[in-house]
């Protein structure tokens, strides 16, 4: 490896690590110290380019870094110690992995000579994390450290993104060598395909132009691939209906007339019916997962051509057989589609389009998201609707936890821009909401960040209220408190004979007092007429974290619902 002229000082592994992070332009790292990372923390102390955010549990460190990445376009960075530091981080890593989020996790490891000796706080970090990372490295020689960190950032942020872990033994952190940071790290084993095959793109366009009942279905890939503008151009040129997955919300503007809502298990009637009955389906950066198309056998009862654009070849023809696969970066592919479309004169048949839109309007007339607006008890949907009305013109980000509240947030908050809706789609990790909100607020200090959560999820990372205090992060927590694990309760009602086994949250804390104990502001709201004033009050407090505990209807369910194993058109409707 070449040395820059004049640089002769040797640096320790810990110094090198920090220098690498500086080279990568890292602003924040989220972490928690421990014995095996003390040399690294010593170097953090000696510099001020990277700001370290001390969380209260390693899981939250990864979630916060993950949300930072989701809401920016940058790589999230985490630092944890060996053993329990790593195992605590695993839930966060798996969450990022399932949603393809670029995160680099640096973990301490016991000294190389102690590896395999069952040393104190030793765990096989590479083995433990292997199934839930894009790749991981154990650095055994300080000479390999800089190039390994470069590779970690390169792998995390290119192709289909994902978390990459770099495990650094303590003696490697203290060993010294010359520092050189490579500009690029070509890898013969890793060359993601960027440009889509233009012949395949032509073929896809021809099918789209001939379609009578077309549908465009897009997922998180459009958001991660920064392809929203290109998608909007394509959808507008073709005049087709567009639906987003839970991960794809904001990839296409929700208030656009061609948007038919989210699809899937809790998607709209019109989106699911259009998916089921379309004759040509264009899937972009989405993966036909079980929560999206339900039972694949039922999906294939209808005959349709499927065109699939994805950067990951293994996502194509995994759950459904695809007619026209296009491997490539979604943005590049959409640009090429728009180019070819602009160059040609063909446009879709307007008569067929009219008939199809009429059909969709009929489905839409079913008003699948209706609920009792005159209820004397707070309806959870009304809280989200009100939240949307009051905040839609703000520079707004919404995070959520996992469960009913997540679905209501997805259904009733209309995201017009990408990277504004931050939630755990693939792994479905309860507890992400608050750390997600903190990561987003750090990345966007001037923006407003709301965390829509429930009384069960919020307790899974409640300790992060302390982190919020330390760094003055004024997030707004919208707790839809129905005294049940709502989604579990819903499934027990529908599929387990109303036997609510262990889904009732007995002995709930007083959230107002709890929030106050952490030094924040708590509010309890139990009347429908108090919802709007409470939200107004909370969002007017620009500098405070406000926890709004909304006491909501215990028996409300999320509709529509495609029960597990059923087909998209077999929804339970309200």
């Amino acid at each position: 490896m070449e040395l820059t002229a004049g640089v002769t000082t040797e640096l320790s592994g810990a110094e090198i690590t920090l220098r690498c992070l500086h080279e990568e332009g890292v602003e924040f790292m989220f972490g928690y110290p421990g014995g095996a990372v003390l040399p690294l923390y010593d170097e953090i102390f000696k510099q001020d380019k990277v700001k370290h955010i001390l969380v209260r549990h390693e899981q939250a460190a990864v979630h916060a870094a993950d949300a930072y990445a989701r809401s920016t376009e940058k790589v999230g960075v985490v630092l944890v110690t060996s053993g329990p530091g790593v195992t605590n981080a695993v839930t966060g890593i798996a969450t990022a992995y399932m949603d393809s989020i670029p995160v680099v996790i640096i973990s301490g490891q016991v000294p190389t000579h102690a590896i395999g000796q069952d040393a104190f706080q030793e765990v096989d970090a590479i083995g433990v994390t292997r199934p839930c990372v894009k790749h991981n490295f154990l650095v055994k020689d300080v000479k390999d450290l800089a190039v390994t960190i470069k590779k970690a950032f390169y792998l995390a942020s290119t192709g289909r993104p994902g978390p990459v872990l770099v495990d650094i033994p303590k003696d490697v952190q203290t060993a010294k060598t010359n520092f050189f940071y490579p500009q690029s790290v070509p890898m013969r084993s890793y060359n993601p395909v960027i440009k889509g095959h233009s012949g395949q793109i032509r073929k896809a366009l021809n099918l789209l132009l001939e379609a009578k009942r077309p549908m465009i279905y897009t997922g998180g890939g459009v958001v991660l691939g920064n392809a929203s503008a290109e998608l909007a151009q394509l959808v507008h040129t073709l005049g087709f209906p567009c639906t987003n997955t839970l991960m794809g919300l904001g990839g296409y503007p929700a208030t656009d007339p061609q948007f038919v809502g989210m699809l899937g298990m809790h998607g709209t009637y019109e989106a699911n019916m259009a998916m089921q009955h379309c004759d040509v389906l264009l899937a972009i950066g989405a993966r036909f997962d079980d929560r999206v198309i339900g039972n694949p056998a039922h999906f294939f009862q209808e005959d349709r051509k499927i065109l699939h654009v994805d950067i990951d070849p293994s996502s194509i023809s995994k759950r459904v057989r695809v007619d026209v696969p296009i491997v490539g970066d979604v943005r590049e592919v959409l640009q090429e589609m728009n180019r070819q479309l602009a160059a040609g004169k063909e446009r879709p048949d307007p008569v067929a389009a009219k008939a199809w839109w009429d059909q969709i309007a009929t489905w839409k007339g079913r008003d699948c998201l209706k609920y009792d607006r005159d209820s004397k008890i707070i309806k959870p949907q009304s809280v989200v609707e009100k939240l949307y009305e009051l905040t839609k013109d703000m520079d707004m980000y919404v995070t959520s936890d996992v469960g009913q509240h997540q679905m209501w947030a997805a259904q009733f908050y209309k995201f017009d821009k990408p990277r504004r809706w931050i939630n755990s789609g693939g792994l479905g990790t309860m507890g992400v909401g608050l750390p997600y909100a903190l990561g987003v607020q750090l990345a966007h200090p001037e923006a407003t960040v709301a965390c829509v959560t429930g009384e069960a999820s919020i307790q899974m990372c409640i300790q992060e209220l302390s982190t919020a205090k330390q760094y003055h992060l004024p997030v707004k927590i919208v707790n839809l408190n129905n005294r049940y694990m709502g989604m579990v309760r819903q499934w027990q009602e529908f599929f387990h004979g109303n036997r609510y086994a262990e889904s009732y949250m007995d002995a709930l804390p007083n959230f107002v007092k709890l929030t106050e104990a952490y030094g924040h502001i708590g509010m309890r709201i139990d009347k429908p007429e108090d919802v709007e004033p409470a939200l107004r009050e909370a969002f007017s407090r620009k500098d405070d974290l406000v926890f709004m505990d909304f006491i909501t209807d215990q028996t409300e369910n999320v509709f529509p619902m495609v029960p597990g194993g059923k087909g998209l058109s077999e929804m339970i409707l309200v």
């Binding site: 590479i126 894009k134 084993s189 070849p313 293994s314």
Partner: protein, 164 residues
């Protein structure tokens, strides 16, 4: 259907566990798996014998390709290929069986590597089916021990799996 998949991967520690882990995590079958460095010591070559529907095999090759350490993957079953496996068998060889065992080894082109008063150790190379046939031809009582390497494979003719 049975497939024999060859791959070249970076000769890094843990590379084998990434492949083995992929197969177990996604519920794919492994009939056998062999691995050793190639003439270029930075690369290992692995042969995996697996089975599954066409869709499953397509996913297996895609998922293998997705592993960051994997440089190249080829499904040898897509074309003509040669497949060989090595087996060592220790058999009882005393009394009247002794001559018979020698003849049997000759018929299957086996080589006797080690001889004692009571036993032969026979080396046999061939396809898995041939090795099975040899074991099937012996009386079960005479087999003392067997060890098999699992299949290695290579394309016929000009078909080459190599990094440019």
């Amino acid at each position: 259907m049975r497939h024999i998949i060859s791959l070249l991967m970076e000769n890094e520690p843990g590379a084998l566990s990434r492949v083995a882990g992929l197969f177990s995590a996604r519920g794919y079958n492994i009939e056998s798996l062999t691995v050793a460095p190639t003439e270029d010591p930075s690369l290992s070559r692995m042969t995996v014998v697996t089975s599954g529907s066409d869709d499953v095999i397509e996913q297996i090759t895609k998922q293998l390709n997705k592993l960051v350490d994997v440089v190249k993957v080829v499904d040898l079953s897509d074309g003509d290929h040669i497949e060989r496996e090595l087996m060592l068998v220790k058999v009882r060889a005393s009394g009247k069986d002794r001559e018979e065992m020698k003849r049997m080894a000759d018929i299957f082109r086996g080589r006797i590597l080690d001889v004692t008063d009571k036993a032969y150790t026979i080396e046999l190379t061939g396809t898995g089916a041939k090795l099975d046939a040899f074991l099937g031809a012996l009386e079960q009582g005479v087999i003392l021990e067997t060890v098999r390497t699992g299949a290695s494979g290579i394309g016929r003719g000009e078909r080459i799996l190599k990094v440019q």
